[in-house]
Symmetry: C2
Subunit: 344 residues, 2 copies
């Protein structure tokens, strides 16, 4: 009987997090935090059910683009890790944007938005692609005219912004989209479970990858809640990557005009990274293993072996979390007052 009790206790220990004393877990907790199950408080934009629902409609609304064929979801596809599997984004008239579409998943936990951080938050970000001529190619005036032409939208905006006298505005469109996007969290990946004390969450190979990820220095720029996304770093600090990878892009210097910011980018979150190929601001690299090796050369001044890169990739795949469950909205019909789509 005594033996059985001892065995039972031993079996239960891991699930109780008693082995949380595990030294790798201790170390990992110094670098990473599990992502919360929900969104944080958003400055100047309290989340309500009505606002989130409206934001979801707008996120899937092709009539925000002048062609009425491109929605936020066209490039931040929620069926595909919140991105598009394109090197650089496709936009109005099949133009190509200059950079790879970053995932919208967990983006609310990034320090700022876009590769160069030029939008301080998601509501500022949301206004960009709607107006960019290579993306949705629309104007705030036309967006408002479009939304006001559909009584269902006017009603939804009233409910989402009950204190506003004229609630259908470009700013409120952006706020609603921000509210919806803030809910796009992918919690409970294997690493999250590990960080919360479940030492069985990672297998042997994944632990090896995690150890390498920390010891080689990757975690220095890819840490925190989003395993990245929290600051700007010069790409190629040790060795400039190939022209193909750099794509002649000066990064954050385009925003700050500071010499020091040349080739500097916000480090991307590595959550769900296996779903968001191709990699880098240029989208020039399709293989995650290759991307890891390039980062070793460029940022750590170290040539990672194939074996090391493979372990790190195994660890990176533990960052795939539970994808948001999205019910497709039913968008209201256009009316005689709705502007017609621009053909090209």
């Amino acid at each position: 009987m005594k033996k059985i009790v001892v065995l039972l206790v031993l079996c239960l220990l891991p699930s109780l997090g008693v082995f949380a004393g595990d030294s790798l877990m201790k170390e990992a907790r110094q670098y990473f935090k599990p992502i919360p199950f929900g969104p944080p408080e958003i400055k100047d934009n309290p989340l309500t059910v009505e606002k989130i629902e409206l934001g979801k409609m707008l996120f899937f609304e092709p009539r925000l683009s002048s062609s009425q064929w491109i929605s936020c979801n066209s490039c931040h596809n929620l069926a595909m890790g919140g991105a598009d599997y394109q090197e650089t984004a496709v936009g109005h008239g099949w133009q190509r944007g200059p950079r790879n579409s970053p995932t919208v998943l967990n983006a609310v936990y990034n320090v700022a938005q876009f590769w160069d951080g030029r939008a301080k938050d998601l509501k500022e970000q949301a206004k960009g692609p709607v107006q960019a001529s290579v993306e949705m190619n629309n104007t705030p005036e036309k967006v408002i005219e479009t939304l006001k032409s559909m009584p269902e939208y006017v009603e939804m905006f009233k409910k989402a912004f009950p204190m506003d006298k004229d609630p259908v505005t470009f700013d409120n469109m952006a706020k609603a989209i921000e509210a919806f996007e803030a809910t796009l969290i992918t919690p409970n990946c294997k690493l999250d479970k590990f960080l919360r004390g479940d030492e069985t969450a990672l297998n042997g190979d994944e632990r090896k990858g995690l150890k390498l990820f920390i010891s080689k220095g990757c975690a220095d720029c890819h840490g925190g809640i989003n395993i990245g996304g929290d600051d700007y770093y010069t790409f190629g600090v040790e060795k400039k990557p190939s022209d193909k990878v750099m794509a002649g892009d000066k990064g954050r210097a385009k925003v700050t005009h500071a010499k020091d910011d040349e080739f500097s980018f916000r480090s991307p979150s590595l959550r769900n990274v296996e779903l968001t190929a191709p990699y880098f601001h240029s989208g020039a690299v399709w293989s995650l293993k290759e991307a890891v090796k390039i980062m070793g050369d460029a940022q750590l001044g170290e040539t990672l072996t194939d074996e090391e890169a493979e372990y790190i990739v195994k660890f990176l795949k533990t960052l795939t979390g539970e994808q948001p469950k999205i019910t497709l909205p039913v968008l209201p019909p256009s009316t005689d007052k709705t502007p017609k789509p621009v053909k090209r």
Copy 2:
């Protein structure tokens, strides 16, 4: 007391369908049938949960196109009545297709698919746009290579086609898409309720519109379960519509090469017609009222008054049914073996 009982009985009668003797209801039942709540049996393609789920993934899968950016849902958007609010479809490289995208909703109840009926069923239809150079611009070989590169798809095909030795085939892709599309039914519109005996389902104006729809002759080509979609008719039998509306399209004659089929088209289903502007094979007309008047001239040889057309439009809006509730699928990640997207 007697009075109260009589009153109560009178109040209850409509909901019991006792007024089903209503002469308009009787007449309507000669032309229209309520749409069933689910799909019919599909020839050579028994529906299973696994097949429908796979079909949903494929319907939302941009990697079926060579650009990996266009999915079935791009032009048959389930957030927008199963169509796209475009005059004619946008396709690969922003090319324009020759015809307006028909809605996928309730399409399983059409006699055949495409405006000219050139595909006898949904599985045959599904193979068209995937290969058309102005649409998804892909090849069956590339589609199979793509699907086989992702272990999750291979597993899903095995489950959906358990008797097949090599289940990942172009035919099975089409069968799975057909299975999903067959579930895209919009039951319970006001007319369905009316046909099932609820005489309160239509208000006075809608009844007037229904009466006109029958008496003018519209119901002769737009009847049955789908309020249309059941046969081919010459467009302009009484008076040829404008060149803009006709767009030089000889319709079914392109398929049959028969002189008699010139300018003949499958009558579109009018279910959810308020969600599927613009109208006609050319998508040349945005206003439903204008479309109704054009049909009066072209098919009935009768100039409908504005008032008549407005009543008919009110009736047509009773054909908007409950839209399918779609949870967005989570698509598997591309692998190193997945073909790369074609840029243009």
